[in-house]
Amino acid sequence: MPVDELLSLLGEGFLNTLALTAISLPPAAALGLLLGIYRACSSGWARAVLDAITDALRGIPLLALLYAFTYGLPELGLPLQPQAASAIALTLCSSAYLSEYVRAGVLSSAEGEILAAQSLGASRLQVVRYVVMPHLLRTALPAIANEAVYLLQSTTLAGLVGVYELLSAARTYNSKYLDFWTPAAALVAIYAALSVAVEKAVSASGSLGRRWLKLR
């Protein structure tokens, strides 16, 4: 069993998987938070448009989005590397789901306190910063962590549009040495470890955010 070849192949795939996750997750979180809060606290046609776009991003299969950005955009004169196209597709899809969890989080837990803050004369920005965000960072965090893990798992789909991520590496190894058991076992272990790491990263950011939002 050529272990060093396994390690080098998987190593490259691992780095690409990690890179793709790391590039897509923070923007997805930021966009999801912004969208979610906006959609929860406003009404009107702008909100309706955003609702429709979010619905579409959640409803269209992720693979279709990946295909659209990888193969569809070059035809419009916007040639993108598979990594860039995948990152954009993953970010957009994740942020749509995140905005839904955020929206639900805002509506469910903080409604009374939002009223109280408004009664004191706080501006919209102040309400978001001092009431909505602290609540979100506590209640919506598990859902955000869940979505982050799902994002990690979704990087495997990027392998179908040309990104050399972990699964692609495993399949390459298989096609060379006709052994899928070894790489598969390694894969399961790696993804399990990465999932834990991602969850920890999310909760760490949550605590950091909470500290930054303190009143004084």
Binding site: P61, L62, Y71, R103, S154, T156, L157, L167, R171, V188
Partner: protein, 228 residues
Amino acid sequence: MSYVQDLLPYIALILAGLQYNLVIAVSAFLAGMAVAVASLAISLSSPPAAKLVAAVSHAVRGVPPLVLLAATYWLIFPALGLPSDALLACITAFTLRTSAFQLQILRASAAAVEKGQLEAALSLGLGEREAVFYVVLPQSLRAALPALFNELSSLLKESTLGLALGILDALARARLVSIAAGYSLVWILAAGLLVYAVSWAVLRFSRLLHRRLAVPGSLGAGVVELWR
């Protein structure tokens, strides 16, 4: 006009591919439900069994769907001596995956039924099995319906992964058509929207069913539908 007529066979081709998405999603959903209910029964029988089921379920949920697909097709099927049928492998893999998620849903909704309900039933003198069957189960099924339909909707979308095993579903065919006819973006988005339309219909039906079956007065304002 003739331009549209030229496109008709392509459109028909893509629509025909949709049947694969439907077959995969529905079969996996139903089979997965059977497995989930069985797992629930097993986990109710004894605490160590419950721990085992929970661990296996957690592990399965942690595996990326594409990895599960690949493992089923290239490892499990050959190991079990089963024929290399892409469709069957796909359905099997998704059955395994969705059963883990459905188990989670069933357990969460059973827990969501107020403890007081079970206590009241037991206080009336019902045996534990009867209490669960007549009081907890109906309520938890009602609560689980939206989440279960979410799962079906998510299966519909994940069914597109079948093209990794060579299954020519709507999306795969859209890609092929676009290679032949150009306008990738249009064909791909059309296929995507097609699947979206079907899952939207499923969720619409789910919302209708939820309202119809709800206990009068129990639905609050702003029921948030979370779909995957």
